[in-house]
Symmetry: C2
Subunit: 419 residues, 2 copies
């Protein structure tokens, strides 16, 4: 790893001295970022980078309405949910209004990991079972129990965790329902009751799989018929990124539990679990749960401001419109560029699969080359998928067509010359 400037080199050396080596930097030449606004991030020399990667700043970096709400509430009160206060109730009302009426109760946490971990605890407690079904390259979070449900991160599967072939694999979405049915059969044979099916509704780590609409519905029905619950992990897909508020809406299913996080506070650590009242009522009868910072006054103010900006600026509509524009441009590019294998996604969550399908390793290396080349041309994107050969494009939902044009132009420049 080489740094791009003496200042960056010094930061790399300090990181190695101060932080655990678990920390990883993006890019062969790590990038120092000193400020950001809307879809732009700026390095220490003042150079602008188009942020087409970060899904957290969903309404644009440092959105003034979110900053002002945060600052105003922090000046007034920041306390927990064991006193009565308006903030968590207002947020709960506004959040529930975006969800199907069957989902009637909220628990606030601070991170998507905490929300997913709580969902697992709820499903275990309420069903009395320990079996969980996940896709085989899933990522659901960083706690002990979730590491065992996040094969993308390489830790061994936890006890009672079963995997089905990722819809991003060769099997594809068409085989997903059959995979879950076969998995339920294996679980029955093993005497493991199914507590829940846990799915990231955009299958981000699996390589971004959005279509066909409804492809998870049969699996959800089969899991329910076997007595299990369905947890929609909306930590990546939620808050309008797909052009609809929630990823599960693409599939015509209503989850028993919905978890959400990353974009919820536009960078502020706030997350939540929403569920059917009877499930959360039963959990409360069996177990206690309290989260000190969950639903604190300031986190609620930040999350309310994000919802307000999404509505006021029409960001669902923009995600759909600019997402369709960007996807159309990528499809056009793919038609004349054999390096692009497929373009997938919904709204502003797009995966661009590169390379030869029979050669995963060189696909990953080529994808890394493209990501690094784009960084040097002022465009930030990431990679995903089991083969590491999918460009992950998730800009703030304020992206405009001229930004999409810039991304398309630069991507074409860094791809190999079409033969």
């Amino acid at each position: 790893m080489t740094a791009s400037s003496p200042a960056a080199s010094e930061l790399v050396a300090r990181r190695a001295r101060l932080l655990a080596p678990s920390y990883r930097l993006f890019y062969a030449e790590p990038l120092q970022i000193v400020r950001a606004a809307d879809v732009w991030m700026y390095d220490e020399g003042g150079r602008a980078y188009l942020d087409a990667y970060n899904n957290v700043p969903v309404v644009g970096h440092c959105h003034p309405a979110v900053v002002e709400a945060l600052a105003q509430q922090a000046r007034t009160l920041n306390t927990h949910t064991r006193y009565l206060a308006e903030q968590p109730l207002q947020l709960a009302e506004e959040l529930l209004a975006t969800l199907p009426s069957e989902l009637g109760r909220v628990i606030f946490t601070c991170t998507g990991s905490e929300a997913n971990d709580l969902a697992v605890q709820i499903c275990k407690a309420v069903t009395g079972r320990r079996g969980f079904i996940i896709s085989d390259f899933a990522y659901h979070g960083a706690t002990d129990v979730l590491a065992g449900m996040s094969p993308e991160d390489g830790a061994p599967l936890g006890p009672g965790v079963y995997v089905v072939p990722s819809p991003g694999s060769a099997a594809g979405p068409a085989e997903f329902g059959a995979g879950v049915r076969a998995c339920l059969g294996r679980m029955q044979a093993d005497g493991v009751g199914v507590a829940a099916l846990l799915l990231d509704t955009i299958f981000s780590s699996d390589g971004v799989v959005a279509d066909p609409r409804g492809f998870i519905a049969a699996a959800v029905a089969d899991v329910r018929a076997a007595g299990g619950l369905f947890i929609a992990d909306e930590v990546q897909a939620g808050f309008g990124r797909l052009g609809e508020m929630w990823g599960f809406q693409r599939h015509g299913v209503t989850p028993d539990l919905v978890t959400m996080g990353k974009p919820m506070g536009n960078g502020h650590p706030v997350a939540a679990l929403v569920g059917r009242a009877e499930v959360l009522d039963e959990f409360a009868r069996r177990r206690r749960y309290f989260n000190t910072f969950g639903g604190n006054s300031v986190s609620c103010a930040a999350a309310r401001a994000v919802l307000q900006v999404i509505r006021a600026e029409g960001l669902l509509q923009n995600a759909e419109r600019t997402g369709a524009y960007l996807q159309a441009g990528l499809h056009k590019l793919a038609a004349r560029q054999p390096a692009i294998r497929t373009v997938r996604g919904a709204g502003l969550f797009i995966g661009v699969e590169l390379g030869n399908p029979r050669d995963g390793a060189s696909g990953a290396a080529e994808t890394q080359r493209v990501v690094n080349a784009l960084r040097h041309r002022g465009i930030l994107v990431g990679t995903t998928g089991r083969g590491g050969n999918v460009l992950k494009i998730r800009p703030p939902l304020t992206l405009q067509p001229q930004h999409a044009d810039l991304l398309l132009r630069e991507l074409e420049q860094v791809l190999p010359a079409a033969g």
Copy 2:
């Protein structure tokens, strides 16, 4: 439960409709809080309450320096640790400067639960063992694995989790070392290797046990001799509350891992794990870990401001001085008040045990009565301990002698007339 005003009644009803029933309110008449400053919280009618309960706002509610740091950074940049940036490194440097030099590496998380959960994962991965020793009325957090290490919350113990008699129980601190030694014997008999001893260094849920200094040291040495690590859970004791920066300093031991959270951002969700370099290096070789919001620019700015205020306002010294003043007053009160059984604690973390030692149930009811009576007199305290008969007093570290006098005066008023 009855609410104190029509507005409060309406909030209680909305909570029941919107939030999961896991949520609990303090007080027989729940309190609506609308703003707070320094050691004061204010209800909707403008009445002031002395906050002698909340350990999170360690430098005082809504401290302007923390609010300003938060707002300034939120306006500029809020991003994660996969780009190079000054903020997490500056915070790591300032944090490590408060810790023994053996503790050389930091991982940031968002909550104390995430930090403790990560500590558990690290100890499992590094030792290859699954045995954990905790005190038998411990609380360490709300994730799935920590629920099994938090008997205070009533969930069953997790696999491999062993308990030793709480130093807050009849056995007392003098028996703590023998309890851990006996526990190691049971683990050996069961063929369970000890991964770690995990202790809240102020034993908050156990009823607040600070003395004698050094009472945990033999247990730490025995666990290490058996190949285990020592995790100091400083989520409650840390950041100066005991008149020293860290609770483990009272005991003359250096932990392998230190976890911290609650007060770290004065209410902002920021937390961390600090450990010996060789332990965290080994973890990184065996497992991946990333926390999206952990070490984000704004959380780091808030935590840096808290450290700065603790130094600038001499809050360790104030915690020690005003804590000693308050404890002396409580001891004087206890001498003429048979309702007070013992006064324990360090700095501004104080437990006042009430009632007859042979009658836990009536002690709990009496303690609830005292807490509710104090609330009506404008003083906020809580309860703790297995018997629920310990008043938990943890005000912001800015508490002054006149606030302590007010607390002492009101406490005397609500205790039964001395016979």
